[in-house]
Amino acid sequence: MSRIKNWLIAMGSPPHFYKWATSSLPWLAGLAVIVFCVGLTWGIGFSPTDYKQGDVYRIIYIHVPSAILAESIYIFMAISGFISMVWRAKIAGMLINSAAPIGAGFTLVALLTGSIWGKPTWGTWWVWDARLTSTLILFFLYAAIIGLHSSIENKTKGDRAVAILAVLGVVIVPIIKKSVDWWQTLHQPSTFTLTSSPSMSPEMYLPLLVCVLGFYCLFIFMLTNSLRGEIISRERDKSWVKKQFFKY
C-alpha cells in the first residue's frame, strides 16, 4: 500500500514523471496500436452486417468509443483538477491542459461521426436530440477550458483557473444533461427517439468492447506523450531538464 502511495507521490513530480514517460512511451504506443487496430478491424471488417441499417452501422465502432472517451476525459480532468487544488500536485495541474485538446478531439470525432451516421440512417445531418445536444455542449466546455488556459500568460495560474472550471463543469454536466433530456421530451412528446442504437448481438458487442478498450489505451498513450511535451516546455530552465532532455 505504501509502495503505491510512494509511487503516486513520485509521479507527482515532473522529473520523475518525465523519466517514466520517456521510458514507457514505446510500450504504451505498442499496446495502444495493437488493441486499437484489433478492435477496429474486427468491428469494421469482420462483424456481422446489421439487419436494419446494413453496413453503415459499423460507424458505431468509431462513434461510441469516442463519445465514451469524451465524457471520461472530462471527468478525468475534473478529478485531476480536484487533486491539484487539494494536494497541489504540479502534474495534476498540467494534466488538465494536456488532456483538454485530446478530449476536445474525441468530442469532435463523436459529433462528426454521429452526424455522418445520421445522414444515411435518419436522412438528416443533424437533429437536436438529447445526446447530440449534450455532446455539443461538452465540446463548448472543452473549448472554454482550452481558451481560458491559452489566454493566461502565467501557466501555473492558468492551471488553477482551469481546475476551477473543470471541477465546476463536472458538477454542472449532469445537471445540463438532465435538463437537456427534459427539454427534449418537452418539445418532442412522441416516444420515437432518434438515438435508438441497434440491439446488439454478442458478435457485434465484443468488438465494441475491444474498441473502447483500445481507445482508452490510445488515450493514455496520447496523454503521456502530451504531458511529456508540456513538462519540458514548462520546466525548460530547470537543471534536470538540461541533463535529461538536452543532454548537456
Partner: protein
C-alpha cells in the same frame, strides 16, 4: 467613523459604494439596456415582421438577449477594484469575502438586470409576446438575470483583464439550465399552465448558486494574487 463590526454593515457598505459608483457614469446602466434593445430589434429584421412567427419566438428571443446583455455587461465588475487595490482590502478585512463579492454581484444585478427587465416589457410589445405571459416573463427574468450576474462574475474573475468574449464563452454553457427553465416557464405561461414548479427549481438553483458561485468567484480572484 462608526464602528462597523457587523458583517451586514460591511455588506451594505460595499453595496452602497458600488451603486454610487455605477450611477455616476451613465454608461454603466445605459449600455446593457441599449445592447439588449438592439439585439431584440435585430431578430425581426432578420426573420421578417410576421406577427405569428415573432410571437411564437418572442420568449426565447427576449431570454437570449437578456442572457447575452447581462453576461457582457459584467465585464468590469472586478477590474477597476483589482487595479486600484480595493479588492485587496476585501481580502485583508476580517469579513467573509464571498459575502462582499455577493454585494458586488447584487449591485451589478440592480444596475444591469433591472433596466433589462424594464426593457423586456417594451420588447414584449415589439415581439408580439402573448399577453398572458408578461408576468411570467418578468418573474423568470428577475431570477434568471440574478443567476446570470452570478455566473458572469465568476467568468469575469477567471478571465480578469482578458476579453469579455472569453468570459462569456466560459460561462455560457453553465447558463443552459437557467435558459431552459426560463423558457419553460414562458411556454407554460403562454399555454396557461401552472409554472410554479419551474419557479421553485430556479429558486433552488439560486439558493445553491449564490453561496456556491460566490465562493468559487473568491477562489478565482485569489488566483490573481499569487
Amino acid at each position: 467613523m462608526t464602528n462597523r463590526d457587523n458583517t451586514l454593515d460591511w455588506f451594505m457598505l460595499v453595496l452602497r459604494r458600488d451603486l454610487t459608483l455605477s450611477f455616476r457614469r451613465s454608461a454603466t446602466y445605459i449600455t446593457p439596456l441599449i445592447f439588449f434593445l438592439i439585439v431584440v430589434t435585430f431578430f425581426p429584421l432578420a426573420l421578417g415582421p410576421s406577427q405569428s412567427l415573432l410571437g411564437s419566438l418572442a420568449a426565447g428571443i427576449i431570454w437570449i438577449s437578456a442572457l447575452l446583455s447581462s453576461l457582457l455587461a459584467v465585464e468590469g465588475i472586478f477590474s477597476e477594484d483589482y487595479r486600484d487595490g480595493t479588492l485587496d482590502q476585501y481580502f485583508v478585512s476580517s469579513e467573509p469575502v464571498f459575502i462582499l463579492i455577493f454585494a458586488k454581484v447584487l449591485c451589478h444585478w440592480l444596475v444591469c438586470g433591472a433596466p433589462i427587465i424594464l426593457a423586456s416589457i417594451l420588447s414584449s410589445i415589439f415581439l408580439y409576446l402573448p399577453s398572458g405571459a408578461l408576468f411570467a416573463l418578468i418573474i423568470s427574468l428577475l431570477l434568471g438575470t440574478l443567476f446570470m450576474s452570478l455566473l458572469g462574475a465568476l467568468g469575469a474573475a477567471l478571465a480578469l483583464g482578458k476579453s469579455a468574449i472569453l468570459s462569456a464563452i466560459i460561462v455560457l454553457p453553465f447558463s443552459i439550465p437557467t435558459l431552459l427553465m426560463g423558457t419553460a416557464i414562458m411556454s407554460a405561461a403562454v399555454n396557461q399552465q401552472d409554472y410554479s414548479g419551474f419557479l421553485s427549481i430556479m429558486g433552488a438553483m439560486l439558493a445553491v448558486g449564490i453561496p456556491g458561485l460566490c465562493l468559487l468567484t473568491v477562489e478565482a480572484i485569489l488566483l490573481n494574487y499569487e
